[in-house]
């Protein structure tokens, strides 16, 4: 178990770096506390897997340091770092039984056999694998195999961190829910530092206490799921988190107040003072918009149903706006007016939230 610190990490897969795009990750600084559940969230190519491989020691960073419990381990190999990693595709040893698979990392470390027995049985119990312990691991279903990969990480009691690289990719949707809450439950039980890498916001937000959102090799925001949802610091975070994502609308500034083609919009941060930006936008999540008798005029374009909700796509002078209402509620025909909840409406200047 340990606290993980990343200091000024940058990595490039190229020999020489001339421009920002040559870097896979740039200037990453992170402080992760011992025993926390963290997630790295971002689209493919954002650098999250590179960062994960740097932490596990499979890649040597071009610049910067990694510290476990304030000890620099940048030059150590994966075995010396004492970490566990669960990959996208279940990695199991086909020739071994489930028991032998779970015991493998322990046997490699010359742990006494009776201790291994206890540990493996304990882990199997936790993961509900006890009945399959003597079966060939190759005969299991994808989620069973992924549990084994996870079990191999849990078996070692001294690991510094357990890392997950999109572990639910190959799992069927209805089993995804089960395995996902199982992970969360395990974390609460054993309190080890866990890092979960994914492009799936639902997985990241439900698993982690702190989520790091990455975009183009940089961290754009770190925060709790609620912070990321309620107050995205960057339009990318607004767009990427939430389904559908935040509406980003073009707007105008008149005498310090924000308006979309003459309709004034109250925002939570417009009073702060808006200096010179080349681009000013308004961000509002679909969850915080409702139909009203007056407000921003829109045309209704499309309605789709998610079972419990309706997603309504509308067209306004500031761009397309999506809003979410309950499945039972009525949708106005043709045109309508929208109002935004002031506390969750933000002004963004050059993609960043406008603050003091």
């Amino acid at each position: 178990m340990s606290k993980i610190t990343l200091q000024d990490l940058s990595h490039s897969y190229l020999q020489s770096q001339n421009k920002d795009e040559d870097w896979a990750i740039r200037n990453v600084n992170i402080d992760w506390q011992d025993g926390g559940a963290y997630a790295l969230l971002g689209p493919s190519g954002c650098g999250k897997t590179t960062l994960l491989n740097i932490i596990s020691g499979l890649i040597n960073p071009t610049k910067g340091k990694i510290l476990f419990n304030n000890v620099d381990i940048t030059k150590k190999n994966p075995v010396e770092r004492n970490i566990a990693q669960i990959f996208q595709f279940p990695v199991i040893y086909d020739t071994m039984t489930v028991f032998e698979n779970l015991a493998f990392p322990l046997r490699n470390r010359q742990i006494p056999e009776d201790e291994i027995n206890n540990k493996v049985n304990e882990i199997a119990e936790m993961l509900e694998l006890t009945s399959t312990l003597n079966n060939r691991a190759s005969g299991l279903t994808a989620d069973g195999k992924q549990k084994i990969s996870l079990g191999r990480g849990l078996a070692r009691s001294d690991v510094n961190v357990i890392m997950f690289d999109e572990p639910l990719t190959v799992i069927d949707p209805h089993l995804k829910w089960i395995l996902r809450s199982k992970l969360k439950e395990l974390h609460q039980k054993i309190k080890r530092t866990m890092i979960y890498v994914t492009h799936d916001q639902t997985e990241a937000l439900t698993f982690a206490d702190q989520v790091v959102v990455m975009h183009d090799g940089q961290i754009v925001q770190t925060g709790t799921p609620v912070e990321l949802f309620e107050k995205p610091k960057h339009t990318f975070v607004g767009h990427f988190i939430g389904s559908p994502g935040m509406n980003i609308l073009s707007c105008q500034i008149n005498n310090g107040s924000v308006a979309i083609n003459g309709t004034r919009i109250e925002t939570s941060n417009s009073k702060i003072g808006i200096s010179n930006f080349s681009k000013i936008e308004l961000g509002i999540r679909p969850e915080f918009i409702s139909f009203d008798k007056k407000g921003l005029p829109v045309k209704i374009l499309n309605v789709s149903n998610t079972g419990k909700n309706k997603i309504i796509e509308t067209e306004s002078d500031g761009g397309k706006i999506k809003l979410i209402i309950k499945a039972g509620e009525k949708v106005p025909e043709g045109s309508a007016f929208l109002t935004f909840k002031k506390d969750y409406t933000y002004v963004y200047g050059d993609d960043w939230i406008v603050e003091k």
Binding site: S56, L58, N77, P78, V79, I83, A84, Q85, F87, Q88, F89, V91, Y93, D94, T95, M96, F104, P105, N108, R109, R136, S138, G139, S149, R152
Partner: protein
């Protein structure tokens, strides 16, 4: 019902069928014909029943040739399979080395059998051949045309040189298909190099290895041209493997009946081993 199944494709099969009929089915039928009859030329045939088969099955000459053949094939497999895997494991995985290695590896496979035999014959000649001359210069009493041990040594060395590449290429393909995550996980689990080989690489190579073994078994069990050109089966009968012995019997002594019976038995052995092997392979397949 207007079913429009197109049967024209069968026409394309006809040339192959004709070819196979001429070079396999018709000769095989002739062989079957000879195996049950005695002939003294002039197209005179006498029915012999299973006499030739009985004669071959108890003949010491056949046992000796079969023994030599089995020994040869076993030695070939024992050397080539592990050596092939070893080379494949040590081949570069990226960069300019990959194409260079692949070309080098496939070169021996591209040389015709008789040329291989002739090359090695000259290469191993004790007086002027590089191999033979060097060995003698180093103080070994080496002469593959006179000493049966040396003849075996040379034949095996030649076959290893010629065919190990096949095992290498197949194993290499198998190794390349392993996802990097497996190696990474093993590294994290603290696995030794041997454990990685035993529990990841070998199981993942299983399929291509069974094919490699099957191919090498068939080829080496039916080997003819290379030892024929190299040693001619000699000295004496020391390297007269089944096929060489068979040709000697059929064309040298003109014992067509026994030779035909022998070739059918030979054919049957190859077929049986392949069938057993194939079934074992398939059974393992369905288990996993």
């Amino acid at each position: 019902m207007n079913k429009t199944v197109n049967q024209k494709a069968w026409f394309f099969v006809i040339p192959v069928f004709v070819l196979v009929a001429f070079n396999a089915i018709i000769p095989l039928m002739t062989v079957v014909n000879y195996a049950f009859q005695e002939t003294f030329g002039n197209n005179q045939f006498m029915w012999e029943g299973t006499r030739w088969f009985k004669q071959i099955l108890v003949s010491e000459r056949f046992h000796a040739a079969l023994g030599r053949q089995v020994l040869f094939t076993l030695i070939i497999l024992v050397i080539q399979i592990p050596l092939g895997i070893f080379i494949a494991l040590n081949m570069p995985k990226e960069g300019i080395g990959v194409p260079i290695c692949l070309v080098l590896m496939s070169m021996p496979l591209l040389i015709p059998w008789n040329v291989v035999g002739a090359m090695w014959n000259i290469f191993a000649l004790p007086d002027i051949g590089f191999l033979g001359h060097s060995l003698n210069a180093m103080g070994f009493d080496y002469n593959f045309t006179q000493q049966s041990g040396d003849a075996w040594f040379t034949t095996i060395l030649m076959d290893v040189w010629h065919w190990t590449s096949l095992v290498v290429l197949l194993s290499y393909a198998g190794l390349r298909s392993i996802q990097p995550a497996y190696y990474q996980a093993a590294e994290i689990d603290g696995a030794t190099r041997w454990a990685v080989f035993r529990h990841i690489e070998l199981p993942k190579m299983k399929k291509v290895l069974t094919i490699a073994i099957l191919l090498r078994f068939m080829d080496s069990f039916m080997i003819y041209t290379e030892p024929f050109v190299l040693t001619g089966g000699g000295p004496g009968n020391a390297t007269a493997f089944l096929s060489i012995d068979l040709v000697k019997m059929a064309l040298g002594q003109f014992d067509l009946g026994p030779a035909a019976a022998m070739s059918l038995i030979y054919f049957f052995i190859v077929l049986t081993v392949c069938w057993v092997f194939y079934n074992l392979m398939m059974r393992n397949e369905s288990k996993s």
